[in-house]
């Protein structure tokens, strides 16, 4: 099949990755009449092809190229080659995601100002405010059909939610509901309502959950201005002698290399692959990698302070039935240092099937204390903690010194160690989560450790000053005018909220900026 855009066409915007950031940016630009080529490493599986089976779905969608990890976190020991659980497919991790869509709070954009200097952390204020983003948050919520915004009804609560809500009420929590979810509670935007299948993490076979795969991408393609090229793994970004990006080199499904020329390049490969690609694109002009004059590319890797609490009850719960994450307690998301840490956290319902529960309950665990918990699987309720973690310089995505991928490029080595603030927050959240369940009669409750990272942030952070970060307030790299970062790696700090709504919001805003810079001839 002939590609709509020629490899030598240097008028196109090339976007690397088709997930939350890349898929959204591609559609937004195409809607404005700009020619876009999205290069996506993964294959295209339409939503009918998704599989209601945890391991089979993981094999179908997850990014399984080799990675290594180190540092003090437990994931390094339990999952030495799986620091992150993210996707390699058209639609990126928006195929796997659960749909929780929360705006950042105002104070979180000014973490340094509001939290003060935290020892061992490199806190920084974002160069933008909530007010700057509000109009774009509005557009993103409308686009994604986020419940409890724009007059869209909330999802009905499943059994897991009912328990969370009863416990939250007993503890006196005020803000507990079925969440702001990018999941249709009724037919909307040509997609049907949620059927409570319970396999949100495996890709929604009904298309009820927003994913760029079946929203942004086909809408963009319908304009005739967007080409998505699957199984196209970008290995290097090229530049000319003036330091301007000129195109990208990618490997097709047979491993054959091609160069796609470009007027603008936007990197949206998620927070491990994006910095890796910039670092791997080093040249004699940019020996430390592209856009890395500050030395910040790959640094300040954040992954949210997470953990889960599961509890067992006398009577059945069947928590795996229904929407995986439609339930939230927001009362602890505030910044209140009297709790012994800065920033806040959310508690959200979570259920896993038997195969993943066994793998993640207590990785490496065995014996009766482990199995007796699983024995009561159908009497279990569960929640996931997601809180703001501290950006630390030594938490970083680095290039592996020896190991290379199939294309001869160094693989990423992901380093992470909790900051004491992260530990204090997690312990607080574990106690509160267990208290919620004890309040409604749990016979046993247990905290379980963080899973491989699903939220990967901060490795090309946004900063006012070029020496503090990699990109400016538009996601435009400080060093190279026609090179952009369009995913969660832009985040200056993580906030307490699940990141995707903010990634989409930034992409919509960035599209306006790219379009105006292009028409002004600035890029």
């Amino acid at each position: 099949m002939a590609a709509p855009y020629d490899l030598k066409d240097d008028s196109v915007v090339v976007i690397i990755g088709s997930g939350a950031g890349g898929g959204t940016l591609g559609n937004e630009l195409a809607q404005k009449g700009i020619d876009v080529v999205i290069l996506e490493a993964g294959a295209r599986h339409e939503y009918e092809d998704f599989i209601n089976d945890e391991w089979d779905s993981f094999a179908q969608l997850a990014w399984l190229d080799k990675r290594t990890t180190g540092g003090g976190w437990r994931v390094a020991k339990d999952f030495p080659n799986l620091p992150a659980w993210i996707v390699k497919a058209v639609g990126g991790t928006t195929t796997h995601w659960a749909g929780a869509s929360l705006r950042f709070q105002d104070h979180e954009f000014k973490a340094l100002t509001n939290y003060g200097k935290v020892e061992g952390a490199n806190l920084l204020d974002w160069p933008i405010t909530l007010a700057d983003l509000e109009p774009y948050y509005d557009k993103a919520e409308d686009k994604m059909g986020v419940t409890r915004t724009h007059g869209i009804e909330g999802l009905p609560g499943n059994n897991n939610f009912k328990i969370l809500k009863a416990g939250a009420d007993k503890l006196g929590y005020k803000e507990c509901h079925t969440g702001h979810m990018a999941i249709n509670s009724a037919d909307r935007d040509g997609r049907m309502g949620c059927q409570q299948t319970g396999f949100c993490f495996q890709g929604c076979k009904w298309g009820a959950k927003w994913s760029t795969l079946y929203t942004e991408i086909p809408k963009g393609e319908a304009t005739g201005k967007l080409e998505v090229r699957p199984q196209s793994h970008v290995v290097k970004i090229e530049h000319d002698s003036s330091g301007k990006a000129t195109g990208v080199v990618y490997a097709d499904k047979d491993g054959k290399l091609h160069e796609q020329k470009a007027r603008v390049v936007a990197v949206a490969g998620n927070s491990i692959e994006s910095p890796r690609l910039l670092l791997n694109s080093h040249s004699s002009k940019f020996p430390n990698g592209l856009a890395n004059s500050s030395g910040h590319v790959g640094k300040h890797y954040m992954r949210h302070t997470t953990g889960s609490v599961y509890a067992i009850f006398e009577k059945p719960v069947h928590f795996y039935r229904g929407t995986t994450m439609a339930g939230i307690v927001r009362d602890e998301a505030r910044h209140d240092p009297s709790r012994g840490f800065v920033g806040g956290y959310e508690m959200e319902t979570l259920a896993l099937g038997i195969p993943f529960m066994a793998a993640f309950l207590d990785p490496g665990g065995w014996g009766r204390s482990f199995t007796s918990a699983l024995d009561h699987y159908d009497h279990m309720a569960g929640l996931w903690i997601v809180g703001e973690d501290m950006p630390q310089e030594q938490n970083a995505v680095k290039l592996h010194a020896e190991l290379k991928d199939d294309y001869g490029m160094p693989i990423p080595d992901v380093w992470f160690t909790d900051h004491p603030n992260d530990v204090a927050m997690r312990n607080h959240a574990y106690a509160q989560g267990q208290a919620i369940y004890s309040a409604v009669g749990a016979t046993r409750a247990f905290p379980t450790p963080p899973y491989p990272s699903t939220h990967n942030l901060g490795t090309n952070r946004m900063s006012e000053k070029a020496e503090d970060g990699v990109v400016d307030k538009w996601g435009q790299t400080h060093d190279i005018k026609n090179l952009f970062v369009s995913d969660g790696s832009q985040f200056t700090t993580g906030g307490a909220e699940n990141p995707t709504l903010t990634i989409v919001t930034l992409a919509i805003r960035q599209a306006d900026h790219i379009a105006s810079q292009m028409s002004a001839g600035a890029i």
Binding site: N52, D53, W55, P156, G157, N158, N159, K162, I163, A166, C194, Q195, Q196, T197, G198, F199, K205, W206, K315, P316, V317, H318, Y320, R321, G322, G353, I354, P355, M357, A358, A359, G364, W366, G367, R368, F370, T371, L374, D375, Y377, D378, H379, V440
Partner: protein, 176 residues
């Protein structure tokens, strides 16, 4: 693939038991493991049948669920035999690991220790070894990923073909 076959006619339960069994429930007959009580057998190709019998006990000791028949553990560790057939180093890892268990148990070996606690005490001493890690790491998937086992835990598995749970109890809790 794992071949679990029904006990053939002609090989009567009495006969099997007469041949003598090492563990109480598993009979080793040639290259096969047979569970006379539950009428299934398992062909072993690369590993010694005695090794496979020990792996089945070991699997239960690692993830003990009293409501699960031995069959599920046998299926779960069958992959070790297949892998041993393809990879001599893996075969050695497993055979040596099991021999070590028997040595630590003394007497008639690991399987002859009657109490789970006694066997688990040995496992606590070797839980960081590559042998234990290889068996446990594989088992956590090969055991719990068996669809036939899910209903025993009350997990209903695939739900799309049944229209999800929207009309099948996603919010049916009455006891709160």
């Amino acid at each position: 693939m794992v071949t679990i076959y029904e006990m053939q006619a002609g090989l009567s339960r009495r006969e099997l038991l007469k041949r003598g069994s090492i563990g109480a429930m598993l009979v080793i007959s040639g290259s096969a493991l047979i569970s006379p009580r539950n009428a299934w057998g398992l062909e072993v190709t690369a590993l010694k049948p005695e090794t496979m019998a020990t792996l089945i006990v070991l699997a239960r000791d690692i993830y003990p669920h009293d409501q699960l028949a031995d069959r599920f553990y046998a299926i779960a560790v069958k992959g070790q035999d297949a892998k041993a057939g393809k990879d001599a180093a893996h075969k050695e890892l497993i055979e040596n690991g099991v021999a070590d268990l028997d040595k630590r148990a003394g007497g008639a070996g690991y399987r002859s220790l009657g109490w789970e606690d006694d066997r688990v005490a040995i496992l606590r001493d070797i839980e960081t070894t590559p042998f234990f890690q290889a068996v446990r790491g594989d088992l956590v998937v090969s055991l719990y990923n068996q669809k036939e086992l899910w209903p025993i835990f009350g997990y209903e598995g695939e739900s799309y073909s049944k229209g999800g749970y929207i009309a099948r109890g996603f919010n049916d809790i009455e006891w709160l």
